[in-house]
Symmetry: D3
Subunit: 314 residues, 6 copies
């Protein structure tokens, strides 16, 4: 496959396929209409301008359309922008498919499911295991394809499951280092902590916030879900309350959306593991795009810092 759009330098010519993520019509200052397209492949997105666009162009180049495009990568207000030389819809004979242009987790969903199953199998506390199985069964399909967020980290197909599996692996190692940890509790908390996102986000491919997501958010949604599950399963033990607390507190403090800070050891750990895995995902993907001796673009979700890749990396 060709080099992804994220790796093009200013001045280079692009000549390949991309997926239209969004298209909006504008009016140039000379009074002529133009199209602003957001084009994407698995490595990233770029803004593109199609000047003097016709009505037909407007019809052809809409979101979800796969296109063949040539053009020059320019810079505009510090961001890359593609000046389109030519563009046409992809043809069946081109042999490209939209799914090839959507970023996915680096691991297949079947394998993610397998890993998840293995970890859940290790949970011995019957109440916790029953609740976790209940949710896996209820949400399996969505869980395996949803992203973990709209942006910032794991914002790709199967991102949520990939994030959960990474966290479980980290939890396993921590249990090894700190044997006092209640592994059942930590595993259960990790599996369910973000399931509320399946209701908070609208879809897999182009996720936005649902009304429920905007007015309640994934944390309160999940508190309620755990309560319902316990009722249905007729579980009454303290495990239900502790699991709800872990979900409630996993953002760490009130300002970040957790009305209660973690008050149980495994809740504190869940918060820290979540933090590490999200940060490593952001850092690794961003650093992957720069060369040794360079700084990355600013990472909004990490206090707008720009990171340096040491020149002695190889």
């Amino acid at each position: 496959m060709k080099k992804g759009i994220a790796y093009y330098n200013i001045g280079e010519l692009f000549d390949y396929y991309m997926l239209v993520k969004a298209a909006t019509k504008g009016m140039a200052s000379n009074g002529k209409p133009f199209l602003t397209l957001i084009l994407k492949d698995v490595t990233g997105e770029i803004d593109a301008k199609l000047w003097e666009a016709t009505d037909e162009d407007e019809q052809l180049f809409q979101a979800e359309q796969l296109v063949k495009v040539t053009g020059e990568v320019n810079q505009y207000r510090g961001r890359s922008q593609l000046k389109i030389h030519s563009i046409r819809p992809a043809q069946p004979t081109d042999g490209v498919h939209p799914t090839d242009f959507i970023e996915k987790a680096p691991v297949q969903k079947e394998e993610l499911m397998e890993r998840l199953t293995e970890f859940i199998f290790e949970i011995q506390n019957p109440n916790l295991q029953r609740i976790v199985r209940y949710f896996i069964k209820k949400y399996q399909e969505d869980l395996l394809v949803y992203p973990a967020a709209v942006k910032n980290h794991h914002e790709y197909v199967s991102g949520l499951a990939y994030h959960v599996v990474s966290m479980l692996k980290l939890a396993k190692e921590l249990k090894h280092l700190y044997p006092e940890i209640n592994q059942d509790l930590l595993y259960a908390g990790i599996v369910v902590h973000d399931l509320g996102k399946l209701k908070e986000l609208s879809s897999v491919a182009t996720p936005s916030y649902t009304l429920e997501g905007k007015l309640l958010g994934h944390i309160p949604i999940m508190i309620e879900e755990i309560g319902h599950a316990a009722k249905e399963l007729q579980i009454e033990g303290e495990e239900v309350l502790i699991l709800q607390h872990m979900v409630l507190s996993h953002h760490g403090k009130a300002e970040w959306g957790s009305p209660k800070a973690p008050l149980v050891r495994e809740a504190e750990l869940l918060h820290l593991i979540d933090l590490i895995d999200a940060k490593m995902n952001m850092l690794n993907r961003t650093l992957d795009k720069v060369k040794p001796g360079e700084f990355t673009e600013r990472l909004f979700a990490m206090d707008n810092r720009t990171f340096y890749k040491p020149s002695f990396e190889d």
Copy 2:
């Protein structure tokens, strides 16, 4: 009835009944045991010292015991303290009852129920009315006697119901001034907003935080409760979500325990009405204890301010 303990000045002699709220044994620096009692009547509390206490004293003077006490009101580190001259358990023949020494809302619970019923009767949206009636039925007994908080405002018997009725009255007036308000929504939100406190607090007379209260808090508890109610009642309309949002956001901002700030007009109003009624309750009860031209004690829940009562009040 005699003047309440809150109205005694330094140096005055006290000679009447009070209720023991708590008793702890200490060791004086001369090596002799003493008892520290917290004594209360409907106007307030006072620390009291019983020096050179015997084992019998320790048995007699425990929490919930009604006592006849004489002593002098002193000052210790800026707070009043009663130096006990004599103390004995109250006798049946004394004609006093523990309930006479516990603060209560200024309105009887029967009348509060009546008011509440009238307001609920005005709710016309069937979904909202069914949910509200469900909760009134489920929690009526506790709702009519619980305090609204452990301290700060409405922290007395029937405080919660009194607070809710006050807020409903205020809501009614606001609807009159701002007719755009959705009265059904606002009334429903007011009635249910603090019901989670019935699970967050342990009891009516000496409320403390339950484990559920500490790990979840009354807001998430109530989100879950509304979800259950809607399921049981098979209500599916947007009213359920909006009502959950109103409860979730009624503390106003994340730092104050609401992961979502109010995003619906009536949610914003619920927050403001709650604020006003809590503040007026604190201010009126505190100002009631000082004379014109004086400052009150510091009000912790109002940024530790001390308020002035103008000398031209009458």
Copy 3:
């Protein structure tokens, strides 16, 4: 009257009169001059572009000019923008007047004066009444036409008086609910609290901040005014000090411009009533522009929130 500009959707054609609020000349990237006009009617404002503007255009279309304009409502960087097709100055024969295009309070100034008079009549404390009457007499003319602010809330003709009357109504209801309130003090505080704005703001129609407004602000201006009034009226009672304190503290805390937080019950109430009336004014006017099931634009003065109008509203 025609539908107001605030109610037009993207793509609709506009063909009616508007008032030019501001006009600036720019140079397009093709080197040709154009005019950016801000056009307004009673419902709102819109940016408009007149491309390839002539010198004559520049002369004709200046602030305060009433124009007849046709054009298409576009979207530019997330905001509406009018692409002008044709534009001409309004003629006397068109039968339209500038005042029809300036937003006004929903109540006539004569009626506002009447309400105000009724409330002031209820003030019984002679010192407070004399001070209030002094100011009403001194500022009556301006008070009845000034806006309450440059933007955010009650930013229209007679906005200040309308805001004051709304607050007085709310105060009256609160007095009913909380009889401990000193009504004279609260009424007096409400009437005078924002009068400093008559010196802080430059004019009724296109208000900006005066030098005095920028360097002192309406609160210190009014503290001084009350002092002068008391001197002229030879009033010496504590009422003067308390009234000054109410004005000084009505923004609630130091960060918001009140060097002293409210330390008198009625000062706290003045702050809360001000808050509620300002918020309701913003919310109602903004929600009025969206349909049930939609979110409003962001409200900068309310923490940049966007509010939802429930779909079961009618």
Copy 4:
């Protein structure tokens, strides 16, 4: 004169005169009354305990009384405390006077007045000079004896005038270094900036906050005063407004009590000069009490820092 109380070490015996600043009666845990006295001389204060105090003791040892006392300097909860061995009221024949025990500025008030007059003589702008002279004339008596604060800095007799003269000297040097400074404005601002304290504080010897001080504070009080002065003097120039702005903004930002931050160069300088002189006063007086190689006690008004005196000082 004897070594001041601030210079005694733990374990040393004290045997000299001090002034009683406050006296309160307490009840020891053995049931016997004792007196807690705050004793002071010009170097500082110390808490003192008179155990088993008689009624006569209580009569004799009251605030403002000069006493001869012997006792041992102990430490109690990290603070010095004097255990009184013997105490008696000072006699006329002892040849000591209360004023010898109150801290005063290191410069006589006559000399302060002279300095002040010299500086004011340099103000050439007639409006500024007339206002400044007006205030000097109106408040001369109090200005020359009042402290600059209740605690923290220049909290001694003539502290305010001493602070003002120090600031004027500093201003003169700054004018020399930065000739762009408007010297008239800066001098005028310095002289009047804290005059509101004459109304904010209750007295010279034992200053506390007046009602006016608590409800308005010295800044708004002085805004009003300048307004009155200008009216009386029939001055209308912009100088009045700028001078009011300088007073209003001299605390630097809203959180510190200035609703407007400095927006004029000389207002910013006034703020900075005030800061430096206050800090130098605190630092010098505190460091004076420790030896090279030691840390001072914590300075609350300087972020609770404890300062180090280098061992190579001499």
Copy 5:
């Protein structure tokens, strides 16, 4: 060995050896001297009062003295306090040694050194390895016995080395999960990050802050040390700068003492690993002292939270 002092309940009698950590003399309100001793064993500390202490007592019971003590565990202001019945210095024949009463890391220092050596052996970058070896050689003796802090976490003998080894283990696992990590850099950063504490803290057994520690702190001290080391070793590569940056930024943000936030992936990880290991150390040791179903005491260094140990723990 006997049950440690941390596990005694109120009311229990203590009869064993403890080490005197500090002793101060006080004066009781009956005028008689008493000693306040802080006594400790490996599980914790307790305040103890020896009433009516003689001069001989004062001589005998000083810091570092091992004592045999009997007494009753009381509660005073919410904290445990030992009322001493009898106390005597320990005798050689008692067969107890001071080192048995000082808390130590759960791993022997020889083993810590071995682990450390293994990890350092894995560093392949020659510059980093040389710097790390330089410091291990220079500070080996202190590194193996110093605590990691004065209080809060790893505040015991060999705490620093134990903390470093724990962090290295965690780093090894993270490298396994996120292979992009530069292991050499992370290992080197972990080994040196806190070595400045050897100069910041005064001693192993009773650490306090040195003058250098108070005026510079361990982070700037270590920046300078790395610079010196590089000069001595004549190393010029970018590794020196990156290693200094890692030490500089390991507290995560300016407010916490790192003038630069982490700007290199491994610097961010160093910060996170440090956080986790410190928190797990605090949590595990605190939770170890409570039973399932109980809350711990407040942990000051963890936002003053009190943690819950679930009742289904075993």
Copy 6:
């Protein structure tokens, strides 16, 4: 010389020489390339647009090139912008030199060196004097030409030395007013406090942050430098530590980059003197560009305030 660019009004024609500070190529919405030039002279900078730029233009007009330009000063988004009518490279025969277009300190570097030498000569403490002389010798060349910052204050040739000399003058006056000051310490601290900027910034003419500057910053760089100097000079006294502390703390608090707040009197003074001189430099240069009765542009480094120049200035 001609009027500087900072003094042109909107609409005026510019016709003189300027230096190209930066040049970037863009694509106009009509598809034609244009150049955005930043042009500067000693009074300031202006953005300029060269529409329809040729490849030759792109070659000719690059950074550091001196150009002759005519054009009109327009306004774009509230900032001045030069619309270029004609532009050509300056010729040797034009008699202009690049150095005439770079802002410099108002004092020659030779005179700055002389002043500096005089002040250093006054330092009597031998350790401090040796360290200061060491640095002056090591860095003399750069110190005399470097700016004090990339922007905000003293951001011109010789800005650093000019700032240091101004601060020394101010220190001398303060020593006069507050004789307790240790003059040697204060002088030494002032001279070295910002020398780390010689490594933090990349060059004199177009300074940007070096890698060392970004990852460490000038404060830690200088701590290390002082340590090295002391080692080389074999100085061991406390002066080294105190001087390092002064540099470390001179930004005043952790949030501003000083992990330790000033804990020595002269460290506090260094911070205050730095603050005053930086602010006066910003204020004087900005106010110099406006007329009496006007407000300046916003000063980002002074909380984004805009300052007023009183109309009675002359």
